[in-house]
Each structure stands twice: as C-alpha cells, then as structure tokens.
Subunit: 122 residues, 2 copies
C-alpha cells in the first residue's frame, strides 16, 4: 500500500504520515522508485496515533504505545511504559483543570467587583 491509500484508509493526510515518519513513529520500506510501501499493520499504528492525539496526547507521548503494538501486544496501552504515560497525562490534565478552575474564580471575582449587579453562575 502506498501513502495515498494509507491516507485514505486512515483519514490522515499524506503530509501527516510523512511527519510521523520523520519523527520516528512510523516506518515504511521503499519501493524501487522511492515510494513508501506500507503494510496492513500500519493502519493500526496510525489509528493508535490518532486515537491518542484526539485525547490530547502529543506525538511524542504516543511513541511507547506504538512500540508496544510493534512488540505484538493487541493493545498499545498494555505495556508498562504506556501506563506510565497514561498516569502522567492524567496528572497533567488534573493540573490543567485545577489551574482553569482557579482562573475561573479570579475572573468571576474581577467581574463581580467591576459589575456588582452581574450574576455569575458557577
């Protein structure tokens, strides 16, 4: 399968696939003419990348999951390294939520001060 087909089957642009490869997340053997050649398993790898990106992981975060799949695991998250990433991300998200709640309180307080009549639900 060449890059166009993989792109179509995964819904990911060729540009992105090359980008993933450039960062060592995907690999492809080359045909005689220099074209990238992918196998069926790459569809799964790309799907894993997208699933993780969609929940806020960075590309770098996805690396352990791909390694895990390549090692033959049926789930990318079933390796120790992946679990560590999960837990780190949960911590990061919790921290972001806390920061946002604090910001919300500050903004609401400023609004209340500037505009005593304005009612702020929350």
């Amino acid at each position: 399968m060449r890059i166009g087909e993989l792109a179509e089957r995964t819904g990911v642009s060729p540009r992105s696939l090359r980008y993933y490869e450039q960062h060592g997340l995907l690999s492809a053997r080359r045909a005689a003419n220099g074209y990238r050649e992918y196998g069926e398993e790459d569809v799964r790898l790309v799907a894993e990348i997208r699933a993780l990106l969609s929940v806020g992981f960075t590309l770098e975060d996805t690396r352990p999951f791909l390694d895990c799949l390549r090692r033959g695991h049926s789930s990318g998250g079933s390796c120790a390294e992946s679990v560590e990433v999960y837990e780190r991300k949960l911590k990061e998200i919790d921290e972001e939520i806390r920061a946002l709640l604090a910001r919300r309180a500050e903004v609401a307080a400023q609004l209340a001060q500037s505009c005593p009549g304005c009612f702020v639900r929350g």
Copy 2:
C-alpha cells in the same frame, strides 16, 4: 518617563511594551530624539494588561479595558464592553474545563481498559 523606567516600574520588558504599542494597546508621545515618553497613567495601563494576561486573556481581550480606563473610569472592567469580555472569557473557560473533564474521563477509561488493575482516583 522613558521605556526603561516604565519597564522597571511595571516589571514588563521594554520589548513587551513596544509590542503592546505595536498592537495599539499603548501609546507614547515621542521626544525630539525619537525616544518614547510615557506618563504616570501608563503605569496603570500596563498593570491592567498584565493582570488580564495573567488570568488567561489574550492581548486583544484587554483592549476594551484599556479604553475604559482612558475614558476616565477608575476600573478597567466597569464598562459594558469589558463586562462582555468577562462573560465571554468565563464561557470560554467553562468550555475548556468541560473539554478537559471529558478528556480526563476518556484517558482514565483507556487506562482502565489497558490496565484493569490500575486504580484511578477522580
């Protein structure tokens, strides 16, 4: 007062002050030599910018607050336009919080599936 003094008094770099001016948030008359000349009121304006940036406003968001102060109001938030910005920001923050909570749930669910033994507080 020249830019260096204003920078020192507000704790904002000269670079940032020029950037604010470039985006029409601050203005300065020019001395004969081309140097920017600021007045006392600019200290207040810069403080307003920083206060708002620190709670997550963009530079553009601060514009109504500065206009409000220039119109003579003692608080930058006591004009209708500013209140609108406050309310918009609260909505944005609430939306971000909701999105983060949703992401957290997704990540926790993925982790639970990959690693049934892992306990996730929250």
